[in-house]
Symmetry: C2
Subunit: 335 residues, 2 copies
């Protein structure tokens, strides 16, 4: 591959002049500029961005760490972020951090060693202090879907509590009072928030919180299924299920179907996140919309702002909204 030296020799000027032409950093006489441009064309010269990065001490890249690249949720995030970042002239280096602390740390450190200019992470398995320390080390950091009080100006989250409340209130409005909640792992703040919203809605409606109706799962389809089985074995009465994400709702749905409970005729079901196939289920799944696109955009804007390229307003706390489809039965008008 041609280097700047080749270009300078072909054009009969110094390397510095070529560099000036490329970056437009200072004025170059018209005829030399033409010569240089001609030489660049001729050699199909492209600046080596590695060398540029070294000289600029800036790579023009943003590292993104998510637990996994597959699946509708993270791939959606990735897709949106890549699009926005590219518009700002940055490119994306991705690393999948699996679901363990060690692996997520490794991914993050890997990206740092790659000298990304900034970091956007969806890291649920590393301690607060670890992230705080990274930020203190000087590298711009944006955390999505997790709130750390000491870093509130670096965290983009959604209001999970509000989301859980809205979902539950909708079920209440439809006449359901015995509502199962399949919650995510309670060591995760988003799972806790959604459960708290459920409790708040019940409390506001004057319904007592009943532990028998609540089962903890781990945000996966399988765990949602076994949580549903567990609840059914308890032989308690319920007319609706609030699964705090769609994957678990799917698992619950399959168990309900197997055991002969039809949805929504006998049991209503509501999910959370509105992942792609929520609308392909029969009945189509009523759920809470997780504003993935917006979160991606806000995260990118925050990163850009931290990189000093721009001043834009950033929403730090996004609002989920109800997506009504066909998996919840209205008990009131039916009666």
């Amino acid at each position: 591959m041609a280097t700047i030296k080749d270009v300078s020799e072909l054009a009969g000027v110094s390397q510095a002049t070529v560099s000036r032409v490329i970056n437009g950093t200072s004025r170059v006489s018209h005829d030399k500029k033409l010569k240089v441009e001609k030489a660049i064309k001729e050699l199909a010269y492209k600046p080596n961005s590695i060398a540029q990065a070294l000289a600029f001490s800036r790579t023009g890249s943003v590292g993104i760490m998510v637990p996994e690249l597959g699946g509708p949720f993270y791939s959606g995030i990735l897709h949106n972020m890549e699009e926005h970042l590219r518009r700002f002239g940055y490119h994306v280096v991705v690393s999948a951090g699996s679901n363990t602390e060690a692996s997520q740390k490794e991914s993050i450190e890997f990206l740092i060693s790659r000298r990304v200019d900034a970091l956007i992470v969806h890291a649920q398995n590393v301690p607060d202090d670890y992230l705080i320390q990274i930020e203190e080390s000087g590298i711009p950091l944006v955390i999505i879907n997790r709130f750390i009080p000491e870093m509130k100006s670096s965290c983009i989250t959604i209001d999970n509590e509000l989301g859980g409340k809205i979902a539950t209130q909708y079920l209440l409005k439809m006449g359901h009072t015995d509502i199962v909640c399949i919650t995510g792992p309670l060591d995760k703040s988003d799972a806790r928030g959604r459960l708290q919203g459920y409790r708040n809605a019940l409390f506001d409606a004057g319904i007592e919180y009943d532990e028998v109706l609540v089962a903890e799962a781990s945000f996966t389809e399988e765990s949602g299924a076994s949580a549903m089985e567990k609840i059914i074995r308890r032989k308690c009465h319920f007319t609706a299920v609030f699964a705090t994400n769609d994957h678990m709702a799917l698992g619950a749905y399959e168990v309900l179907a197997e055991q002969g409970y039809s949805v929504p005729e006998q049991v209503s079901l509501i999910g959370f996140d509105d992942i792609l196939f929520a609308r392909y289920l029969t009945p189509k799944l009523t759920t809470m919309n997780f504003p993935i696109e917006q979160m991606s955009l806000e995260a990118v804007q925050l990163v850009i702002q931290k990189l000093g390229n721009n001043k834009c307003d950033v929403n730090f706390k996004l609002l989920p909204s109800l997506v009504v489809r066909n998996s919840v039965k209205d008990l009131l008008t039916t009666l």
Copy 2:
């Protein structure tokens, strides 16, 4: 951030010695080695991989270009490739190439300017010559899901023709003879291959190919829906639909449902690709499995081989297989 110079000064040795300790390239006396390691710990020194890349003229990265990052298909590819590449010590730089020639070229050139060591691309919208030229320029290139005769040792594909044939033969075996085919855009080789497989199966069964039963769409849900509508408007007789990918099958399914054809009782439906939500449809979609994991693995192995790190056998042509679920009715045993 600490540099190798800082480490060398703290340890009281030369930079070369530090470098030797880090890379283990030659023997270093035990006590100096200990001093260096201590200094590295103390300064939390991490080699700057940008500088390493410049010195080694090798970045340790592989560029991946896909039309989009979202969606189950490409994100699956990405996920698998990242996992494998990481095991070989490479990291991934992604770029979404949209669906236009200009955008895909831009993405590829962007990755090249980033000096990735190799390239894996899913590029359907650039001419053969462009890709040939890139390979000739010396950068290791692997092309997935597309066959270019001049580059046969760089292309990982599936046997679309065989897949189309298997799908159609299955419908024939189930007693269907009037089979609609919703094909992808015929300027794409995979769409052509699948259609050809359909024709071959019909030919082998002694059934005449009927253009009235065939409609071209563009591999999207919407286009599949309108192709299905078009066919229905033709008022021809059919008992089964072969959609040459699952997205179009989904679109067709919705139109069939709307217009009162129940699947599979009145119309059988078979797709292609086995994307994630094929199994969440009701009835669960019978389809052809696209071996995404295998393709990702083969592509990575081929890249590794080209990078000279390894000699492994590579399968260049992968075989799709039938996934029987519930969307095809057996006309023979039912009668």
